[in-house]
Amino acid sequence: MVVSALSGREVAEWLEAGAPGSVERWQEQTVWVKPPSIAEVARFLRDNPSLDLQFLNSISAVDFIEYFEIVYHLTSLRQQHTAVVKSRVYSREAPSLPSVYHVWRGADFQEREIWDLMGVRFDGHPNLKRIMLWEGFEGHPLRKDYL
């Protein structure tokens, strides 16, 4: 395997230095960060030359009923390593966290899709509207309580 996975501990230590107070906890290959600091964390992950995570593979949202987990899969094309960053949003009425659109433009459609299907808002996204469904559709179908 050419690409290696960064351990959660390693990423957490970097984040403690670059964005103090943003890390919630880490485990194996995952770091959990506090939702309000995600944009700051994203910028640090991209711009720090040792981490160099300039490629956003995907953003996923999982509905765990008591919280939404937003998962960022990242890759550094130069350093050839990957990292997984997660963030938990505890709200069902109006879940929201900052957008990473201005850090990784590739987040554009994926954040819109999560808003459309999962109902998590991304603050600071310049064009956050429904993408798969039509404007006026009620509800967010990928939520576990949507039948």
Partner: protein, 368 residues
Amino acid sequence: MPIRTEPMTVNIGPQHPSTHGVFRLRVTFDGEVIVEVEPVFGYLHRGSEKLAEERNYVQVITLTDRLDYVSPMTNNQAYCIGVEKLLGVEPPPRAKYLRTIAAELQRIASHLVAIGFFLQDLGTLGTPLMYCFRGREKILDMFEMLCGARITVSYLRPGGVFFDAPPEFWTALDTFLREFPGEFEELEQLLLENEIVMVRTRGISPLPLDVAINCSVSGPVLRASGLAWDWRKMDPYDAYGWVEFDVPTGANGDNYDRFWVRMQEVRQSLRIVNQCREQIEPGSVRLELPLVLRPKPGAEAYGRVEASKGELAFYLVSDGGIAPYRCKIRSPSLINLTVTEHLLVGWKLADMIVSLGSVDINMGEVDR
């Protein structure tokens, strides 16, 4: 006195033969120059991710066929690798070779469609398209021998493949490997140095590498911009670690480079299939797994392959039940569309359809 022009907004699609499916572009023109473009999609949204939560792990395979319906084998592959990671199992070597052969044949078929329609978009009125479909047809016939279907294959299974290949498949494959390189050379001679193709595609809609990376573009589009990034090399799965192949890259990331990279990748895929054909040995093709799979609660996996359009991945989360708790599809077609605006604005109407064709999107995968 300069002539005053007025911008005009035009809808291209959703029902339009050259938008490659039900896809709509809201384009604002100034004369014939594009000043603003907004891609609109969702017309083929079937809720595959939600449907996957209601089916067991093996049944979901049939849904993956219908994502990128020009490249179903690689979709199966991404999903099966995801489930195998969830379970922590590895398929036997013969299965890995069969999967690699199927996936590479599929890549050839998918690239042939991409090349054929790209030229169709240029206005070639069918001749190169038919040359491309000649090769693709033989591949689909071979898929029929493997699994009884041409498009909705569902051939791969977590832990291997459904059936071993029948003897007639190997005969057909040998014939294909003998005949196809010559047919493909014909196509190369016809197109690669073709004056009209060059004039119409060289330097049109270039995509700088930094924009491509920032927009999460992957696959041939990223490689055409000059970066040799291929998950088959970077994170070898199935039999890719045991075969040799090169990763062709373009220099300018223009329409010609995207087309050229695909042409070269067909050659590389043939190399891989040839090596697999030589290396494959008899053995079991499928692990003995329970019919209904139950990964550990809390397990998660990111099953990733280099599909013909780019990085295709399934992010699977298990709650210990018989169905995935969450099955997120990272679709390369959707994410490659992020650069539409960058590719089209400032260029003319006549190049718009060609540039869109050079990205090679598939609406089944964009909308899911």
